[in-house]
């Protein structure tokens, strides 16, 4: 509902115009019987033929005016619903591009296509019907009652009671019918599902000789659907018949009372026709509205499905290591034991530990160079073993300790993971990686030649280039495996600062030996002999973790000595 309003809002003028035009149409429809009554009255009261012609002329004018308004209103309505449909479709498509691969996969291509196409078609249809059949109802009720009261207060009062009775009846039946219709929709889906299962699985069904069982399953689905349909149909038989009877009863009452009123001079004989006509009109519109209202739950469901896409905010997608252990084949001891931590989006997680602590093995597990022996690693909620390696690695940006460059130009190397990256993007990535300055100082800049393995660059330059390469890729998870070791402290610091801005809502995992590289990380995991010796921020670990304190002290001492 809110969704519809949201999309109607930009077109509120058109919307208002549509409603106004439809109101004029409805008013015209009620005015015609009034004029017919006047002619009847003239005919019985011996007025002149001229007077009758004059009223007839008025009638013609009203008819044409109401007809024009109805046609224009129909046009405005068509424009409006077509426009809303288009806006919605564009919005869904634009939003779909913003969804992460994971979120998009959660919806699924087929489902998003349905939401873009048929769901919105249903919404459009519902919008048109509501505007044309539901919105006029209260107006016609009020107008009809007002006109009747104008003719005769007592009849007006009775009409009010009859309309209320029909409304009550309609409400009661709707209450019974709408769960029935929801169920019907579900049973229809069920019918399609079972049928599709039978069609696509025909080989399996026959291989297992399960034909009879499938016939049973289908027939049950069909019978449920038929049974519910019959119930719904009967409800409507009730509604139609009873509403008609209410109105007919009203007609009898009108005949009953009007004699006295006419003889008393308050009412004229032609007015009887007018009053009956008003009642009929109200009934007609009420019943139409009812049909439309019954289809609305389905349209609202479609709205909800569309809204879910439009309002989808990506969940915080994390890399989760749950009780991960790893043992190399034929080894006697676990290389890693019971690792348990989470790398959150937009945060930096660091793993620190001495040589042989197993910290690089963590990276190789995440990249699935090896699979965990026990426990699980999940990315965005999916076990990485259930992803194709391609998919997994598409989402990771991995920077190795030993940077490897391919022969070719610098630009070739940076574009390695994303060939379409623009020159600006390359420049930006290089700057973040603190490689921009030295690249620009080269005679050929980004077109400078790189020898195989990058041997014509220094270790630090290679490392920065390989970091830039990962940045160009814009992955969801960065893994820096001891990638800062060859950098001097100043470059290291500048790079980390620039990186923090660049990585945005991606998760960053830094594996390092130097405390200085990681002390500002959101969380630090301390590894010692393949076990977690501590987890927390630098300050927390300094206060509680002995292994961390030792690493810190040995390194600050080194720094002082150096």
């Amino acid at each position: 509902m809110k969704l519809i309003l949201r999309f109607l809002k930009p077109h509120w003028k058109l919307c208002a115009l549509t409603i106004i035009l439809l109101i004029v149409d409805v008013a015209g429809a009620l005015f015609i019987p009034t004029l017919v009554a006047e002619i009847l009255n003239s005919g019985t009261s011996g007025a002149t033929f001229d007077a009758i012609v004059q009223t007839g002329f008025q009638m013609a004018v009203v008819s044409v005016l109401a007809g024009l308004c109805a046609i224009l209103g129909g046009y405005a309505c068509a424009v409006l619903s077509a426009q809303v449909g288009k806006d919605m479709r564009e919005a869904i498509y634009a939003k779909s591009l913003k969804l992460s691969v994971y979120d998009f996969r959660q919806f699924g291509t087929a489902s998003i296509t349905t939401r873009t196409i048929s769901d919105i078609t249903t919404i459009q249809f519902a919008l048109t019907s509501t505007l044309q059949m539901v919105i006029p109802v209260p107006i016609i009720c009020v107008l009809a009652l007002a006109l009747t009261f104008g003719l005769d207060a007592q009849l007006g009062l009775i009409l009010l009671v009859v309309v209320a009775a029909v409304l009550l009846l309609a409400w009661g039946i709707m209450r019974k019918a709408s769960p029935l219709f929801r169920r019907l929709q579900k049973l229809l889906d069920r019918m399609s599902t079972v049928l599709l299962e039978n069609i696509t699985g025909v080989r399996v069904v026959r291989a297992f000789n399960n034909e009879e069982r499938e016939i049973g399953r289908m027939t049950t689905a069909f019978a449920d659907y038929a049974g519910t349909s019959i119930k719904a149909n009967r409800l409507f038989a009730n509604l139609d018949g009873l509403s008609f009877f209410c109105i007919n009863f009203f007609v009898v009452v009108v005949y009953w009372l009007s004699g006295g009123h006419i003889s008393a001079g308050g009412l004229q004989v032609g007015d009887i026709t007018a009053v009956i006509e008003y009642a009929m009109m109200v009934l007609f519109f009420l019943m139409m509205a009812q049909m439309v209202i019954l289809t609305l739950p389905r349209a609202l469901e479609c709205c909800e499905r569309v809204r879910l896409v439009l309002d989808h905010t990506p969940e915080i997608e994390d890399l989760v290591l749950r009780d991960v252990s790893f043992r190399f084949q034929d080894a006697e001891e676990d290389t890693l034991g019971h690792l348990d931590f989470v790398c959150r989006r937009g945060q930096t997680t660091a793993i620190i530990g001495g040589t042989g602590s197993g910290k690089s093995t963590v990276a190789s597990l995440i990249l699935r160079f090896h699979d965990v022996t026990d426990g699980s690693i999940t990315l965005n909620g999916t076990d990485i073993r259930d992803m194709t390696q391609q998919y997994l690695r598409d989402h990771l940006g991995y920077v190795q300790q030993k940077a490897w460059l391919f022969s070719g130009t610098i630009a070739d190397n940076l574009r390695y993971s994303r060939p379409k990256a623009s020159a600006d993007e390359l420049m930006h990535a290089a700057d973040v990686a603190q490689a921009g300055d030295f690249i620009r100082s080269l005679p050929d800049g980004f077109h400078a030649y790189v020898a195989q393995g990058g041997t014509n660059f220094s270790g630090g330059q290679k490392q920065r280039l390989s970091i830039a390469r990962a940045l160009v890729k814009k992955p969801e998870l960065y893994i820096f495996d001891d990638s800062f070791s060859a950098l001097d402290f100043k470059t290291d610091a500048a790079l980390r600062k620039a990186l923090a801005k660049e990585s945005g809502d991606a998760a960053v995992l830094i594996i390092a030996q130097r405390v200085s590289s990681i002390r500002h990380a959101n969380q630090i995991v301390v590894l010692h002999e393949g076990r977690m010796a501590g987890i927390g921020t630098h300050e927390e670990l300094m206060a509680t973790c002995k292994v961390y304190q030792e690493i810190y002290e040995s390194q600050t001492k080194e720094a002082k000595e150096a």
Partner: protein
């Protein structure tokens, strides 16, 4: 009456053979004859009453007007009970009966249509499970689906409301026109002229509308094509920074659809106002003329108002008759399509079938030839023999005919020449179920149905106990995984089992076969969509499954092929080489060439 509904049914779908379709459709109503008779009687009474009611109201009003005038003249106060009590009671009773008979017929018809459609659907369910596989290969799933669901719903709706409405409308129109002619010939003629104009106009609009609807359908198809393609290629679009271009393309298609929508909707929206406008103009003329007639004293006030009631009663059904007939025709076309499906040819089982309780597992192809189109044979004169317990690897590129081989083994298709035997018995002499009973099948294209994990494993043996199911799952090494699911074995696999990976699905289907314990197996090794670790799991599970059974493996992995007792190397539907790995390598033919190019 709901004009929307009727207008939504504008479709120029015409049945090819109306008479036989109608006859056959009515044949289905045979069992509901009494009910239908009651419906028919109710309709007749209802129609008669709805024609009689306005006439009687004319009498009532005239009487009322007279009594009032008399009261005025005599100066006595007007009393309803004294002057028209009887008439009003009669009118009330008339209305009561109108309602009763309306209620009767629609209440009874609620069953008739749905029962008929249910009967048709049940027949289709039976038919679908007997049709040869050829039918499924030839017809798209979506088409069959829409035949069973929306096509038949259309029939139900037309029978339920459309047909009744049409009959009632025809009855009402004829009856009303007779009364109207009785009241005033010139006025009725005038009215008919307006209605003729109205029908011409609506017909014009309807024709235009049909074109617009087709146009709308086209633009929506284009739009669907565009978004589907873009959603599928989303990663590529993003990788190549084509977001803006793709948005523009979608926007273009959406705009084309918007224009078509606008046009089609407008035409739909303006049909009713047009009809109403013409009817009202007719009313204006009739009102003025009858006003004159009242002044001249040739028409009474009761008759005039009754005449207006008839105008209202007749105008709408008259202009909508063409729509109703259209939707009736569309429904008949749907029925015809359904009947076509029910008439599809079946291949019955032999009358006195050969029995094979549990085969030992020797299989022989003897000079088998086959083609999906019998005029264009794919397989020619194929012969080979598999001994019980042997492992046969079927090797060949895509389209080499590996699936065809399985289709013939399982008798999804019948051979065109030669014969296939199991334990020396010609499979064509057995019932299909008797034959398939001996086979277990694990395909790459795994099929799970909406039910629990346990139900899916027990698919081949619904009577299996929970212990047996768990044992089968353990044998397929999925027991642990199943236990990690939220409700274990009672987890419901919904939505095409989207919560399982391809590998897990395949393991479940392996468990299924373990439970059936058939002597002969058909396996399709996993290829791409499964990650390496699961692939190893599946390989192991399949190996366990094959122990002691004759197995046909569509093989992709070298180890499987090398271990096979026999390799069938297929190309273009035929087996061009057979023998074990060593023999074939020594032969230096096509298999050897493939082996050296791919596996080494």
């Amino acid at each position: 009456m709901s004009p929307k509904k009727v207008i939504a049914g504008i479709e120029r779908e015409v049945p090819q053979d109306t008479r036989s379709t109608v006859t056959r459709l009515f044949g289905y109503l045979h069992g509901q004859r009494i009910r239908l008779t009651v419906v028919a009687v109710s309709i007749v009474i209802y129609v008669a009453l709805s024609i009689w009611n306005p006439m009687y109201s004319a009498i009532v009003i005239n009487h009322l007007w007279q009594s009032v005038q008399e009261a005025w003249q005599t100066g006595t106060p007007f009393s309803v009970t004294a002057t028209m009590g009887r008439e009003l009671i009669q009118l009330t009773v008339q209305y009561l009966f109108t309602w009763l008979f309306y209620y009767f017929q629609s209440w009874l018809m609620a069953n008739v249509a749905e029962n008929l459609v249910l009967e048709l659907r049940s027949q289709i369910a039976r038919k679908l499970n007997r049709l040869p596989l050829r039918f499924f290969d030839r017809n798209k799933a979506g088409e069959i689906l829409s035949r069973v669901t929306s096509d038949l719903d259309k029939i139900a709706e037309v029978l339920q409301t459309g047909l009744l409405k049409l009959i009632v409308a025809i009855g009402t129109i004829i009856g009303s026109l007779i009364v109207m002619f009785y009241y005033s010939v010139p006025l009725t003629c005038l009215f008919l002229v307006f209605m003729a104009v109205s029908m011409v106009v609506t017909n014009l609009v309807a024709r235009k509308n049909l074109r617009c609807a087709a146009e709308r359908q086209e633009t929506i198809a284009v739009l669907t094509g565009v978004v589907e393609e873009y959603y599928n290629g989303r990663d590529v679009i993003k990788a190549y920074n084509h977001e803006a271009e793709s948005i523009q393309m979608v926007s273009q298609a959406a705009e084309a659809n918007r224009l078509a929508n606008q046009k089609a909707d407008f035409l739909t929206n303006c049909v009713n106002p047009l009809i109403r406008l013409l009817t009202r103009l007719a009313q204006v003329v009739i009102a003025v003329i009858s006003g004159k007639a009242m002044l001249d004293g040739t028409m009474s006030v009761g008759v005039v108002q009754a005449f207006f009631q008839y105008v209202n009663q007749t105008a709408e059904p008259l202009t909508e008759a063409s729509y109703m007939i259209n939707s009736l025709q569309a429904a008949l076309a749907s029925a015809e399509r359904t009947f076509q499906m029910l008439d599809e040819e079946e291949r019955p089982d032999p009358d006195s079938p050969a029995l094979l309780e549990r085969a030992k597992g020797s299989i022989a192809f003897e000079h088998v030839s086959f083609g999906y189109d019998p005029d264009r044979l794919l397989m020619r004169d194929i012969s080979f023999t598999a001994q019980p317990g042997q492992k046969i690897a079927v090797v060949g590129s895509t389209g080499a005919g590996k699936t065809t081989l399985i289709n013939l083994l399982m008798r999804f298709y019948e051979v065109n020449g030669g014969r296939i035997t199991v334990d020396g018995v010609n499979t064509a002499d057995m019932t299909r179920s008797g034959l398939r009973h001996n086979f277990g099948m694990v395909l790459q294209d795994t099929w799970l149905f909406g039910g629990t994990v346990a139900e899916n494993i027990a698919y081949g043996r619904p009577d299996a106990t929970r212990e047996e199911i768990i044992a089968a799952a353990k044998a397929a090494k999925v027991d642990y995984f199943i236990r990690t699911m939220p409700k274990g074995y009672d987890t419901v696999l919904d939505n095409e089992a989207a919560n399982l990976s391809a590998g897990q699905r395949q393991l479940l289907t392996i468990a299924r076969v373990f439970l059936c314990d058939p002597p002969i197996l058909i396996l399709d090794e996993a290829t791409s969509s499964v990650d390496t670790r699961t692939e190893v799991e599946i390989g192991k599970a399949m190996k366990r499954l094959m122990q002691g059974r004759t197995s046909f493996v569509i093989a992709h992995r070298l180890s499987t092929i090398r271990d096979a007792d026999m390799i069938l190397f297929m190309e273009q539907g035929n087996i061009i080489e057979q023998g074990d790995h060593k023999t074939l390598l020594a032969k230096g033919g096509a298999y050897a060439a493939l082996y050296y190019s791919q596996f080494e």
